[in-house]
């Protein structure tokens, strides 16, 4: 790990000034940053410890029915908050499908939005990576890339965003609250992460010093609570990143779909909102034919970036299955294996 200057500012105002210094990184839960620093992937000269900033560790219910999740709320605390689970079950399910209990106890909501890609070439400092070292090239192109992006990628970067949390959040119109040296602003989560284009080193809209202070879900997002699921395919049943995942949420009216929300994970460098697919479902019967049409629309623009054509068909099937699970209704109790297609069926061991 590189040497660094450590500072723990007492206020948000002091933090955003300290964080604007070139080479500074914010430290909250540390679950991703410490790992990246140990591997030499990130070498910040200044660590600005924001883990104790006041008032950012609260789940606040808004008068309009929405919720404001402080950036320092731990993943586990949010996923086990009884009211949050009831109102936003797919978000809780996504959180519980990610990482391990130990990591969820440390990792924060804000940090989850800012976790870096798990592309092995990004992690391996001996490999070329345009994210780590702009214009170095990309060894994932033409390399071991069966887990890489099928949507929104460029020849400069084919990595994916690893977050589970962000997938249902994006589907449910979450808004990110930012505070920077120049003041505060709100950004829809859907536009918070950037596609790689020719500048894969730029991953979000954050400006120097800008800090996530909260993530808000609007009241309308709770209108999907009865029919909302997150489904995640991984290479082992627990404690693994998504190969492909999907959040599906339906608002049913007299047995018909009044409104649908769909987002995909593991397919692009950002959580992927499938608006065209949602549009095909408005007013439709919640049946397999409708779900198939939605899945076709969701992946219509998908193109393999290497040995990963299978992910396109897999993603279609996951969209169909997530929609079917959502239509069947949110389970009364969190499944033993959250977001798993094998939930309730695994009896080994």
């Amino acid at each position: 790990m590189n040497r660094f200057e450590y500072a723990r500012p007492a206020t948000l105002a002091e933090a955003v000034i300290a964080g604007a210094v070139p080479g500074a990184a914010y430290l909250a839960g540390g679950t991703n940053l410490m790992d990246l620093m140990k591997g030499g992937v990130m070498q910040p000269g200044h660590l600005v410890d924001i883990s104790r900033l006041p008032e950012l560790d609260r789940i606040e219910w808004l008068s309009d029915g929405g919720v404001r999740i402080g950036a320092l709320v731990r993943n586990a605390d949010l996923a086990h908050d009884a009211k949050f689970v009831q109102q936003f079950p797919a978000v809780a399910e996504a959180l519980l499908s990610g990482a391990s209990a130990q990591l969820r106890n440390a990792a924060t909501a804000g940090g989850n939005l800012l976790q870096r890609t798990r592309c092995a070439y990004f992690y391996d400092t001996a490999s070329a990576c345009n994210k780590r070292d702009p214009s170095a090239g990309c060894d994932a192109v033409g390399g071991e890339n069966r887990l890489h992006a099928v949507l929104g990628w460029s020849e400069h970067c084919i990595a994916t965003n690893p977050s589970d949390f962000c997938v249902p959040l994006t589907a449910l119109d979450a808004v990110v609250e930012l505070q920077g040296p120049a003041g505060r602003r709100d950004i829809p989560l859907e536009t918070f992460h950037l596609l790689p284009g020719s500048t894969p080193e730029r991953e979000t809209v954050l400006q120097p010093g800008e800090l996530i202070t909260a993530v808000r879900l609007p009241a309308a997002a709770a209108g999907f609570a009865a029919n909302a699921r997150y489904l995640k395919i991984r290479e082992r049943t627990s404690y693994a990143f998504a190969v492909v995942s999907a959040a599906a949420a339906l608002r049913l009216d007299n047995g018909m779909i009044a409104e649908a929300r769909i987002a995909l994970g593991g397919v692009a460098l950002k959580p992927w909102r499938a608006r065209a697919a949602e549009a095909t479902l408005a007013g439709a019967n919640p049946d397999q034919a409708a779900f198939q049409r939605a899945a076709q629309a969701a992946l219509a623009d998908a193109v393999p970036s290497g040995d990963n054509a299978f992910k396109i068909e897999l993603a279609r099937r996951i969209v169909v299955r997530a929609l079917a699970l959502a239509a069947a209704g949110t389970p009364a109790r969190m499944p033993a294996l959250p977001a798993s297609p094998f939930a309730g069926a695994v009896t080994h061991g």
């Binding site: 450590y6 440390a106 627990s238």
Partner: protein, 170 residues
């Protein structure tokens, strides 16, 4: 900012001055305080061997910067037994052969204690049947593959601790 920190470790307050801001909680325990029960295996948050309770919650101590946790209360495997009397989770691991080589065991035990405490806080959220225990313990790898015994040990300890709680409450 200086590098002085105070931690409560297994019930005892310890004031220390670090020689480097990079010291993790894991290295502080093992290399500075000779508390080597907490194991260093992957050192990257992937295996769970370094699990300790930090303010009552299980975390990977390899990913926790010691400076960031000034003032915290740490419980390690050295602090769970009462004198010669093993913690119910420790006793259950022995009774159910929840180990072979034993290297991952301190982390498994601390994770199980954390899981059982979390279950008390979160109601049905954590493990209460074999499938939920396996999921709740998935952050602890065992390369000997003693998972069957580990799962039985955790379930047994959970029952024993719930029984003790009921007796204490009565």
């Amino acid at each position: 900012m200086g590098l002085s920190i105070t931690l409560t470790i297994n019930g005892a307050k310890r004031a220390m001055t670090l020689d480097d801001p990079r010291v993790t909680l894991l290295d502080l325990l093992r290399e500075r305080l000779d508390l080597t029960g907490t194991k260093k295996a992957c050192d990257r948050g992937q295996c769970g061997a370094c699990t300790v309770l930090l303010d009552g919650r299980r975390v990977n101590s390899c990913l926790a910067l010691a400076l960031s946790h000034d003032g915290a209360d740490i419980l390690t495997v050295e602090g769970v037994a009462q004198g010669d009397q093993l913690h119910p989770v420790q006793a259950a691991f022995i009774a159910h052969d929840g180990l072979q080589c034993g290297f991952c065991t301190p982390g498994q035990i601390m994770s199980a204690i954390g899981m059982i405490r979390e279950g008390q806080t979160w109601g049905s959220g954590a493990g209460s049947d074999p499938e939920r225990v396996r999921e709740a313990m998935s952050g602890n790898l065992c390369r000997c593959g003693a998972y069957l015994g580990i799962t039985e040990a955790v379930l047994d300890a959970q029952r024993a601790m719930a029984e003790t709680d009921r007796r204490d409450a009565a």
